[in-house]
């Protein structure tokens, strides 16, 4: 029986991990780490899981240890946030190119500077080219559900890529909200045992991992990685379908909210989507055809699907919670507009940056943004929402 609960996003993900009972969990145990390994370490101490929990000396080490354990044949996970993830950087690429399906539960927080501990997506967005799968959550429920689905996606034979399960720092990670938890047995059966085809501790099948690839081989390896990312799209949908059959909760690559006849749309990632939905409802009751797309999966990027979903809109605001310093907006803006162009969607698209360093996003901000879309008076190129100029 599923259970009604109230939990913070950190607790929710920690409980999902308890139910999954991974083999190895290395983590740096101090700030900038999150409460997730802290909660999980109590499950270890209480004997509720038989995970090998390894407190390590840095995030470079936690990612290296998780990778090593995964290569040995163990289902592994690690956790971090913000600059902790920056310290993992080098190893992120190694984990992805070695095709190790480990999980990273990431609480999205700003990368310094100025020094700031609050939410934005600069940490994970910076790692968008590292070869990891990336899924994002609007609330605690989605953070939990995404964690439960993560290994089924990552470990799939057509994918075999590491997965980053992201949620918004403080906004969902530290906020207590209602949630439905599936029971332990349901999660255990859904996730299943990890049975890698090839692993280092298999003495019957000696192998080497992560060797030097001369120029004659390196490009093919990268191409194979890109193919795995392409394959992941279908696997993510298949896993979501199976999960929906058990839980009744529907997931796709993105959620379309009141998009059927929408003329003015916003595309956004994470917790601000909930706030934007309240704005959509308010504007709809005033007669505006407003709609929202909340992107769940950023890697692989569902460019074609998004362009299709935006086919009939007049104007769309693509929202980024991270600067690219490209002088032309943020990462979601750049990728979505490229996808629209490629798919011959000529809707008027603008890119809006918001919520950097935890700047609060209010329903009123979103309503005003939709009105600007309707009036067509947003600046060319890209702009900032909620900024003091």
């Amino acid at each position: 029986m599923a259970k009604r609960e109230r939990l913070s996003g950190n607790e929710a993900v920690a409980i999902a991990l308890r139910q999954i009972n991974p083999d190895v969990f290395p983590a740096f145990p101090i700030t900038p780490s999150t409460e997730i390994p802290q909660y999980f370490s109590t499950f270890v101490a209480n004997g509720q899981v038989d995970t090998e929990f390894i407190p390590v000396e840095s995030e470079h080490s936690s990612m290296s240890a998780a990778m090593g354990a995964e290569a040995a044949g163990a289902r592994s996970v690690t956790a971090t946030s913000s600059c902790g993830m920056a310290l993992m950087w080098e190893v992120l690429y190694v984990a992805a190119s070695d095709r190790l399906p480990l999980a990273l539960t990431l609480v999205n927080r700003t990368l310094t500077g100025p020094i700031n501990i609050n939410c934005d997506h600069s940490d994970s967005m910076g790692a968008r080219d590292s070869g990891w799968l990336q899924v994002y959550a609007e609330n605690n429920q989605e953070a939990y559900d995404n964690m439960v689905m993560a290994y089924r996606i990552a470990e799939h034979k057509d994918v075999r890529l590491p997965i980053m399960v992201c949620q918004d720092g403080f906004i969902t990670s530290h906020a207590v909200e209602n949630i439905i938890l599936e029971d332990d047995e349901t999660v255990k059966n859904f996730v299943g045992e990890y049975e890698p085809e090839a692993y280092l501790l298999n003495e019957k099948q000696p192998m080497s991992l992560g060797p030097y690839a001369i120029s004659d081989y390196c490009m093919e390896a990268k191409r194979a990685q890109a193919q795995a990312m392409h394959n992941a799209k279908q696997v993510i949908l298949d896993v979501a379908k199976e999960y929906e059959a058990i839980t009744g909760r529907h997931y796709g690559l993105f959620e379309e909210y009141r998009m059927e006849d929408a003329e003015y749309a916003v595309v956004i990632i994470g917790s601000a989507a909930g706030t934007a939905k309240d704005a959509v409802d308010a504007l709809r009751s005033q007669g505006m055809k407003a709609g929202l797309i909340k992107l769940r999966v950023f890697r692989p990027f569902p460019g074609k699907e998004l362009a299709e979903a935006l086919k009939h809109v007049k104007r769309v605001a693509v929202m980024d919670r991270a600067e690219s310093y490209s002088d032309q907006g943020g990462p979601l803006g750049a990728e979505l507009m490229a996808a629209m162009y490629r798919n011959k969607n000529t809707a008027d698209a603008i890119n809006v940056l918001y919520g950097l360093g935890g700047r609060d996003v209010r329903v009123e901000h979103m309503e005003e943004l939709y009105r600007q879309l309707e009036r067509g008076d947003l600046p060319e190129g890209y702009s900032y929402m909620g900024l003091r100029e």
Binding site: A175, V176, E177, N178, G358
Partner: protein
């Protein structure tokens, strides 16, 4: 409860305003509501002003912003009245609850242009008489539940007792004092 009730807590780091907001979310959840309880994080230090928030609703809550137009405001530390505009955005139909030894009239002088309802409680007195130490958050929690009519009194006390039994499983001797603090606070707030 027809619309979402929004509450803003003002306290100082170390006084338990955040814990009180999370406890309120907890107890409202236990009575079947949809809830949010969250603090506003900044550079945390003992004694620095902190803000925490609650939303309580009959329907799922989707909004993820801070609260700017609360129905109720709780001031856990009276000294904040000198530096923070605690009634900012406060609904005219709502109320403010202040932890103080002063009469309402004195507090109102510090709340410029505030025309709504005000309640006061001496949380130090309540806490010292029942718990024996100064924990202002327990009395303030009971005070806001009473003032806001957020739930039935007996429901609140029943769920709080269950919550204390869980929280203080290893020091059951403090449960009675905390329960008495809640009950006394409900009588004292006026």
């Amino acid at each position: 409860m027809e619309k979402t009730v929004e509450i803003r807590w003002h306290g100082r780091g170390g006084q338990g305003a955040k814990t009180a907001a999370l406890l309120l979310a907890d107890v409202a959840f236990q009575t079947g509501k949809y809830v949010q309880g969250f603090p506003e994080y900044g550079p945390e230090r003992m004694g620095a002003p902190i803000t925490a928030y609650n939303r309580i609703s009959e329907k799922p809550i989707r909004v993820h912003s801070n609260i700017y137009e609360p129905d109720y405001v709780v001031v856990v530390d009276e000294s904040l009245l000198d530096t923070i505009d605690v009634t900012k955005g406060l609904s005219r139909d709502g109320a403010i609850v202040v932890n103080t030894t002063s009469p309402k009239e004195e507090i109102l002088k510090k709340l410029h242009h505030y025309e709504g309802k005000i309640y006061v409680i001496d949380a130090r007195k309540v806490s010292m008489e029942t718990i024996g130490q100064y924990f202002p958050n327990t009395p303030m929690l009971a005070a806001i539940v009473k003032v806001g009519g957020l739930m039935e009194e007996h429901e609140f006390l029943r769920e709080m007792e269950a919550s204390f039994k869980h929280k203080f499983a290893r020091k059951p001797e403090v449960i009675e004092g905390n329960m008495n603090a809640l009950k006394l606070a409900m009588k004292e707030v006026h």
